[in-house]
């Protein structure tokens, strides 16, 4: 049977979610989304520019029906702001999925655990499918699962930092302790970062900056697609244990011996 990702009852083949921000051009976004094979894309909600209401955004060119749209609440610092943005998002996208971001800190963009839990509780009551972006805090992750979040999205490192996975130990514990999908979000810089968490048993990853700001977003999108698949298959195949000493990969006996010795 197929190895599929299931979120809130919906089934996906791809375990690579991609953001649509920061692309230098529509062509880049297209190439990246295509090559990445993503089925879930995030979008932000922003004010329409009334001085130029017909100005196009990269999104005007995407065929929305092909993707699960996941609006985020980026830019919100409080639960109230997140709720307001989520409801606007639901109206405009028709999707009741929301990636919850409650981020008071502008420098490292780290999420507020208390504000996030609060926002998620209200959004779930309001009928949303809630995917919260969180610090890699296992206790918080468990609490979010308990109140009915569809996934948890712990960070690898600060958004857009490309530092990779600074939180491996915590993510490993989250994977052990929660049963909803664990989606590692933020900070991934290269496919090996994505492979690493997938090998540990993460269910999916979300990548934006590492693809969009690469010199070649299309090629990098494909690279992440392969890296995520590599990590997932490795997890299913089962890795060898780490050992301190070496273990020869060639037979240790039967080595030929020159005449003088036997």
């Amino acid at each position: 049977m197929a190895d599929e990702l299931v979120i809130a009852g919906k089934t996906f083949k791809s375990r690579l979610m991609t953001g649509t921000g920061k692309h230098r051009s529509v062509e880049d976004l297209f190439a990246a989304v295509e090559a990445s094979g993503t089925e879930i894309i995030t979008v932000a909600i922003r004010r329409l520019n009334l001085d130029d209401p017909n100005e196009k955004t990269v999104l005007d060119h995407l065929d929305w029906d092909r993707y699960q749209i996941l609006p985020n609440t980026a830019g919100c610092r409080t639960p109230e702001e997140a709720l307001f943005t989520a409801r606007l998002a639901r109206e405009v996208t028709g999707s009741n999925w929301v990636k919850v971001e409650v981020i008071p800190d502008p420098q490292y963009l780290l999420p507020d655990p208390i504000g996030t839990l609060d926002a998620c509780r209200q959004l779930i009551d309001d009928g949303f499918i809630v995917l919260p972006y969180i610090h890699a805090d296992p206790v918080l992750a468990k609490r979010l699962e308990d109140i009915g979040c569809a996934t948890v999205m712990p960070l690898g490192s600060p958004i857009g930092s490309g530092q990779g996975v600074q939180t491996a130990e915590e993510i490993q514990i989250i994977i052990e302790q929660v049963s909803v999908p664990v989606i590692v979000d933020a900070g991934l810089g290269v496919p090996s970062d994505a492979s690493l968490v997938m090998e540990m048993g993460a269910d999916a990853v979300l990548v934006n900056s590492a693809i969009a700001l690469s010199n070649n977003p299309g090629l990098m999108g494909e690279a992440f697609k392969l890296g995520v698949e590599a990590g997932r298959k490795s997890h299913l195949a089962g890795r060898i244990p780490r050992k301190l000493a070496a273990a020869a990969s060639s037979p240790t006996d039967g080595v030929p011996v020159a005449g003088s010795r036997s």
Binding site: G19, T20, G21, K22, H23, L29, T42, V43, A44, I45, R46, R47, L48, L50, P53, T57, V58, L59, I69, P71, N72, A74, F84, R87, L88, A89, E91, V92, T93, I159, G160, L206, N208, S209
Partner: protein
């Protein structure tokens, strides 16, 4: 003469009108947008009945690329 703040900027109108009128005037009715009036998000079917009064705040948003 009424004043309405739209997306943080104040605009003046001769007379009160509905959200739908405004969007039609701006040719935004068929665009993928969402509207909130004084902090309350409107459903499309509410556009026709929702009137813009002096001192109101309106937000008109759209999806953009984001992560």
């Amino acid at each position: 003469m009424i004043r309405v703040t739209i997306n943080g900027k104040e605009y003046e109108f001769e007379s009160a009108s509905t959200v739908e009128d405004y969007l039609e005037m701006k040719d935004l009715l068929n665009r993928s947008i969402a509207v909130a009036l004084n902090g309350t998000v409107l459903r499309r079917e509410e556009f026709a009945s929702a009137t813009l009064n002096d001192g109101d705040h309106m937000e008109i948003v759209r999806p953009v690329g984001g992560g």
